[in-house]
Symmetry: C2
Subunit: 211 residues, 2 copies
């Protein structure tokens, strides 16, 4: 019970996501091969950084001829391969939950939202492609779909309770939108998204840059 929000992805690993996104874009535009500086410019990092990252993951290019995009994509998929088509649930179908459940890009990236949950019975009748279920169904769904990851979109007040319950039911990882630091046992992954902090960072830095 010491580390709470640890298990932060290494910077280089996280950048692979960005590279993949850029590479898909390049491919769509008809490119076949790219150089580290092309990818770097698109991804917002230096060319050296790109090469260094690939070096860490033993991804090889061709001197003078750059990298074959398909090879890069294959190599990146290899790093993340075992996590494709994972099932995810969302708890809390208020404003942010509703937005997330309709976000098609999760599916494109092979992350499958299998169900959502809300305590409010009036919401349970509605559906956005996937059903909105009462909390009593959590156990069943988690077992049936072998769900390991949940998105927390309930009010701050309820977040810790819901997380405790979900851990009991076998959930191991959380993407948490409630602005609270969750208390969890070791070896539970918690990743907090605090949009107030993010917006405030932007304001802070904007004022610094503007002087």
């Amino acid at each position: 019970m010491k580390q709470i929000t640890k298990y932060v992805l290494r910077h280089d690993t996280k950048r692979l996501f960005t590279y993949r996104q850029c590479l898909i874009g390049f491919k769509r535009k008809g490119f076949d091969r790219i150089f580290s500086y092309n990818l770097g410019e698109e991804a917002g990092v230096t060319a050296e950084q790109v090469r260094k990252d690939f070096s860490v993951f033993k991804i090889k290019g061709n001197k003078k001829a750059g990298y074959k995009i398909d090879d890069l994509l294959t190599a990146i998929e290899e790093v993340f391969k075992y996590q494709l088509n994972q099932h995810v649930i969302i708890v809390g179908m208020g404003n942010i939950g509703k937005a997330l459940v309709q976000y098609k890009r999760f599916m494109l990236r092979k992350m499958i939202i299998v169900a959502s949950f809300d305590i409010d019975p009036t919401k349970q009748s509605k559906r956005w492609g996937i059903p909105i279920l009462p909390l009593e169904m959590l156990d069943d769904i988690i077992k049936r779909f072998h769900v390991k990851v949940a998105i927390i979109a309930v009010p701050e007040m309820s977040a810790q309770d819901i997380v405790n319950k979900l851990i009991d039911l076998g959930i191991k990882g959380f993407l948490n939108f409630a602005p609270v630091i969750l208390k969890t046992p070791e070896n539970i992954v918690v990743h907090n998204i605090n949009l107030c902090d993010e917006l405030e960072s932007v304001i802070y830095y904007t004022q610094k840059v503007v002087e």
Copy 2:
């Protein structure tokens, strides 16, 4: 035109946001003073980290008696003081835009969403406390409220166009939800939130931890 998504907040600065949040919580629970390990536990970092961070910002405590919460809050506000009550706009009032515009916590944190914008005329009739305006009104609102920061919640395809237009109109900082790396001149602050990447990170790490 070299660095794109730079101006990342220093880690210690960003943690101040978390500390503030925790301190407000402690205060609400009736506490008056705290020790570095209390705050560390609540914030999910070590006690040494807390003390080191305060040390960097010259925030002093009292040996043996810890820190006075009010003093800490005052000191943290001092770091961020000049950015209170900043005006912000949102562009794109689809799923995520609607969720954000209704998020009351921005206001609690003294960040004021003054207006939102959408290209779709049928959305412009609706309102969620603040008006949804056509893009023609951007110039007027930005000038009138001295807006420097915008939240981008338009489809990927439109994001770069909108950002170009906003930069022309004087916007200096962006919180961008569209999963594209924006091309901007130097000294424009861009902070990307890529929720697919975040969810995928959680899945990746969860699988690593579970083995």
